[in-house]
Subunit: 158 residues, 4 copies
DNA sequence: GATGAATGAGGCTTCATTCAT
DNA sequence: GATGAATGAAGCCTCATTCAT
């Protein structure tokens, strides 16, 4: 299917990727980095609440722009398929955000809870929204995004 | 594989499930109902904050007891494979919880945000925790569970 | 399927037939004998042309009454599946008819052509009619039966 | 089995045929067209009786040359397995012959009987011969072919 | 004698991968 | 470097048959 969509021969794919697993991992990394890079680009010298706003809305924007990429990332977020390099990318992307959250913690802006937990809650809740929308259990419009942003800020802010 | 693990002949599986898809769906429903039933059993005449406590800790307890079941539920939460009956089970399980959250909203206990969104945030954030732990990005111990419980109550409470 | 239609357990079938092949052969013999017996019962002290009339119309009547039996007989007329006993039945049923045709030959009523050939032509042409009707290439009504009867009498008569 | 006989891998078959059913149908069409084409090639500007001779002997020749093909065609002449395209081929092949028979009817050469019936009788009787020979009830040599040809011409000629 | 759950060989099919061109 | 035909292991499933009850 990949070869067909790429308009190349089936064998050609193997000149660029060792195996299907390698291709999936490369794609995973590509989009994880795209997402991470996009979110990173939104950061800057803003007050915490505004940074959180930019971050949450950024995830919303990215999901709107690349819904298939988000679905792909979620579908393959399961450990079995990801190789070491993909996990390394995962960590590398989280690093600057973790640094930021840690700083906030020192400044008593967010709760005194391990930053990994706060980050897992925030990202997880956003994904929860996405998945509920995929199952058509709800629809995520701008109002929903704003309301949930407020909720999750309350979740982490001191 | 299923037949082998069950120590029965390959054909025997088909006396109990029409197809692989039917088996996966039956398993999905079984565990979704187990989780839903367990959480439901924890509800009762308690103050909201305590109910939320029981709910959040209940998910923790269930995940500790049946880690494979939770992983299975997450792996198959993706719409493509679930049949109508499984989706119906999904909705049926959410109903009583939604009713509860709606009541809380009338009583001004939780934020004035569509209950579906609040539920998606809470469940999603818990799954976010689980998945981060699967990828060994963090470890969920009792302290983590308590801390995140507090966070998510803040997220939804008025 | 056979057990189900017979409203008995699957294993019960094997108390009456050694195998599927044995059952099919028994069924084949049963209906071959039914057809043969029916046609034989129509014979009697009639002039040749009338006997042929009774024979041809008899096949029509039998096919009308037991269309599934005829389809079954045709479907399994292929040597691979028939066992020795079934072939013996086949021969036994043809015997009296062959005797009749041979007598007709001596009396110069039918062509001076080996009786097996004449019989194969007549039976084959009737089956050809049936099969064309199964493929909806034509419809066999009484007029068609009468017309073809006349044709095939011409085919064999001296 | 097909792959094995063709000395290719199992999957290779599926590069040429979508499914077993498609393969059987393709084979059916191939040989039906071979038979039809061969018979058609024998027609020409000959008197009716000679055309019939060429046709009947043509079927004999074809059956002698490709006995397995004839057996295959007969075994699968049963509607359940043939797809629309195969049936279309069936009809297309019969068309020119029907046209010929219809012309003969106008010229009062063959009996005033629907041409479909005459064709079914002729083809059916030939198949009857074949099948009797497959069951070793008789042997079809040249003399038999000649004798039956004469019979069946009588069957249809005016 | 009847049952029907259990069996497993075998059938059809897919798809990730290879390799000769 | 590109191709795509060929591959065959493995997957899902059926069904004729067995056998403990």
């Amino acid at each position: 299917l990949v070869a067909e969509r790429a308009r190349v021969g089936a064998g050609t794919v193997y000149r660029y990727f060792e195996s299907k697993e390698a291709l999936v991992n490369a794609l995973y990394r590509k989009w994880k980095q795209a997402l991470g890079g996009y979110l990173f680009s939104l950061l800057g010298d803003f007050p915490p609440r505004e940074l959180f706003h930019r971050y949450w809305q950024g995830m919303g924007e990215f999901s709107r722009r690349y819904p298939k990429a988000m679905a792909f990332l979620e579908l393959h977020h399961h450990g079995d398929y990801l190789d070491d390099e993909s996990r390394a990318v995962e960590r590398r992307i989280l690093e600057p955000i973790k640094a930021l959250v840690d700083r906030w913690q020192e400044q008593q802006i967010v709760k005194n809870v391990p930053s990994e937990l706060l980050m897992a809650l925030v990202y997880g809740s956003f994904v929860g929204l996405l998945r509920a929308s995929w199952l058509t259990l709800l629809h995520v419009d701008q109002a929903a995004l704003d309301a949930t942003e407020a909720c999750m800020w309350e979740a982490i802010r001191r």
